[in-house]
């Protein structure tokens, strides 16, 4: 159980410059992921999940600035020179991008795109790379092999494209994978298939994973721990079971009871724009239990009785 810490963030802030100022998409993020562990980041659109994922990969747009540190095996990758980081990217830190439909180069056969990963990081020889690709495709349950490897992305279905992307992300057997919304735009059956395959690849290489999603069923199936994000902050963080069965933060409680199987009770109001962050607790305008104090005092993450379970609420554990 005592595995090493792989990724650790220390007071991480991600800011985007906009025409009249700055917005803070990620605010004071302190998370760590151990070797082989799956951390799931859950939150609404625009709460900073993907910004965090992209900051680990250093693929943020030009108008973004990073403050704080991201340590990979103790080395700060925020300040690492681009040249040095490129050796890690793809080989040790990889990603499975969101939107399968557009993340494959339309002009290259899908098999060749996976070959590229092998050629960049492992193999020298093209036919050996193709052999590996085909083996990987077979593991991912892709049909019509080996002809499928010669197909162009537009000839594949959404689920197949997503699995090709899973192959691209895992081909180099990275130690850490950022998986951004792997089930976006897939129907229920495909979703389960893709999730199963991702879980399978993860356990086979024992890679650590940051899973970004807004789907609790995905989180439940794959993750060891869950962090809930709201308006750029982590509001609750704990082991998957604890968070899902005994949610502490009112926001977590709210989204869990908003799930279809729990009766669709939506939270009142909308999540705030990152330009208009409310004072005090960021959730107070929508919180059913908000008090006067909530409007002025910004809560820190508070420990709750269970180990490693924290919640950003003044009344946590009360």
């Amino acid at each position: 159980m005592d595995s090493k810490i792989l990724i650790q963030t220390d007071h991480l802030y991600v800011q985007f410059a906009i025409p009249n100022g700055k917005v803070c998409a990620v605010n004071d993020l302190n998370l760590s992921i151990k070797e082989g562990e799956v951390l799931c980041l859950v939150g609404e659109s625009g709460c900073g999940k993907s910004a965090f994922g992209n900051s680990i990969l250093r693929l943020l747009p030009d108008n973004a600035t990073l403050q704080g540190h991201i340590y990979y095996y103790g080395k700060d990758i925020v300040r690492m020179p681009e040249k040095e980081f490129r050796l890690l990217r793809g080989k040790e830190i990889a990603c499975i991008p969101q939107s399968a439909a557009t993340s494959l180069n339309p002009l290259i056969e899908c098999g060749k795109q996976v070959d590229e990963v092998y050629l960049l990081h492992k193999e020298k020889n093209k036919s050996a790379a193709r052999k590996n690709t085909l083996r990987l495709f077979k593991m991912l349950g892709l049909p019509r092999l080996p002809e499928l490897a010669g197909d162009y992305p537009h000839e594949l279905s959404g689920g197949m494209k997503q699995r090709v992307l899973v192959a691209m992300g895992t081909a180099a057997e990275p130690k850490f994978i950022v998986v951004d919304e792997p089930t976006k735009g897939l129907d229920w059956a495909r979703k389960h298939e893709v999730i199963e395959r991702i879980g399978y690849m993860q356990s086979m290489h024992n890679s650590a994973m940051l899973l970004i999603t807004h789907d609790f069923s995905v989180a439940e199936l794959l993750s060891d721990r869950i962090a809930i994000m709201y308006a750029g902050e982590v509001v609750e963080h704990g082991e998957t079971k604890q968070v899902l069965q005994k949610p502490q933060h009112p926001y977590t409680k709210g989204i869990i009871s908003a799930l279809p199987q729990n009766g669709f009770k939506a939270i009142e109001g909308f999540s705030p724009a990152l330009t208009e962050i409310p004072s005090g607790c960021r959730f107070h305008p929508r919180c059913p239990n908000a008090t006067c104090e909530c409007t002025v005092q910004h809560p820190e993450l508070q420990k709750i009785n269970e180990p490693n379970h924290v919640s950003r609420c003044l009344y946590a554990g009360v």
């Binding site: 080989k91 990603c95 991008p97 939107s99 557009t102 990081h121 691209m168 180099a172």
Partner: protein, 285 residues
């Protein structure tokens, strides 16, 4: 076998413009390369006893004011007129695409500087600017190529930059970065192949106008020099005889028209084949 034939028929029917265009261009290029060896007359052999003969069996397009075979001259001239245009377009597109991709990929100050330069180039009327360049460099075919290239490259640069920006925003470029590709590799194997289609269309469509611009410069006496059989120069030479011997001007004129027409058909055909929406863009350029 039959299947292949059917497939070919289907292809021809769907891309009729492309098929007609490429056949005409191939015919023209064939005439340009093989034609001179089939000519029975020397294009520059002056024979005053046979001047201004109207078209006949011996001289299908007649002879000019110095008794030279007009058909032979038009065929030899194709080398110069089309050759100049092809060189200008290829070199111009190469420079333009390089500049455009660099500007689009680098962004920031590099982009601003390069694009201001392109805008300055585009703000001059093309022919006038080419005249100015030739005025400083002096006459001649090589200088004509340089002048036309200087005018043309900016068009391709602007197009290439725009396409680069579009491609750069697509998710697969980010995915390519994420698997660990270097910058050069992303440019060469991701951006370039994804923009080259549009560049080819615009380049093919611009061969016609470049042929005409080249002929115009020669007509003004700034490009190829007498006694070269360059088409513009031939038209210029024949203009004084246009009443007695209109074939001297008509033949090279028609040759230019047909060539421009053929290349435009090909360009439109490629455009339709690659992307039906591209046509509007080309017309706006």
């Amino acid at each position: 076998m039959n299947n292949k034939l059917d497939g070919f028929r289907h292809f021809c029917r769907r891309n009729s413009l492309f098929v007609i265009g490429s056949i005409s261009v191939i015919l023209i290029l064939f005439t340009m390369t093989v034609g001179p060896s089939l000519c029975t007359h020397d294009p520059n052999a002056v024979k005053y006893s046979e001047k201004c003969i109207s078209p006949c069996a011996e001289y299908p397009f007649g002879t000019d004011f110095s008794g030279r075979c007009v058909l032979c001259r038009v065929i030899y001239g194709a080398h110069i007129s089309i050759g100049v245009a092809l060189v200008v377009v290829v070199v111009g597109a190469f420079i333009g695409v390089t500049v455009g991709i660099v500007a689009g990929y680098a962004g920031g100050a590099v982009d601003s500087i390069l694009m201001r330069l392109v805008e300055i180039m585009l703000s001059f009327p093309g022919t006038i600017f080419a005249l100015a360049v030739l005025g400083t460099l002096g006459n001649g075919t090589i200088n004509q190529i340089i002048a036309l290239t200087v005018v043309r490259w900016a068009h391709y640069a602007r197009l290439a930059r725009g396409e680069t920006l579009t491609v750069m925003n697509s998710d697969y470029i980010q995915a390519a970065q994420a698997i660990g590709n270097s910058r050069l590799r992303i440019i060469v194997s991701y951006i370039f192949p994804n923009i080259i289609g549009q560049i080819i269309v615009i380049a093919t469509l611009s061969i016609g106008p470049v042929i005409l611009a080249g002929a115009a410069l020669s007509y003004l006496g700034l490009g190829a020099q007498i006694p070269s059989p360059e088409w513009g120069l031939m038209i210029n030479g024949g203009k004084e005889y246009i009443r007695q011997a209109p074939w001297i001007t008509l033949a090279p004129g028609m040759a230019a028209v047909l060539t421009v027409f053929a290349f435009n058909l090909l360009g439109e055909g490629i455009g339709d084949m690659i992307d039906p929406r591209l046509k509007e863009k080309a017309e706006a350029d």
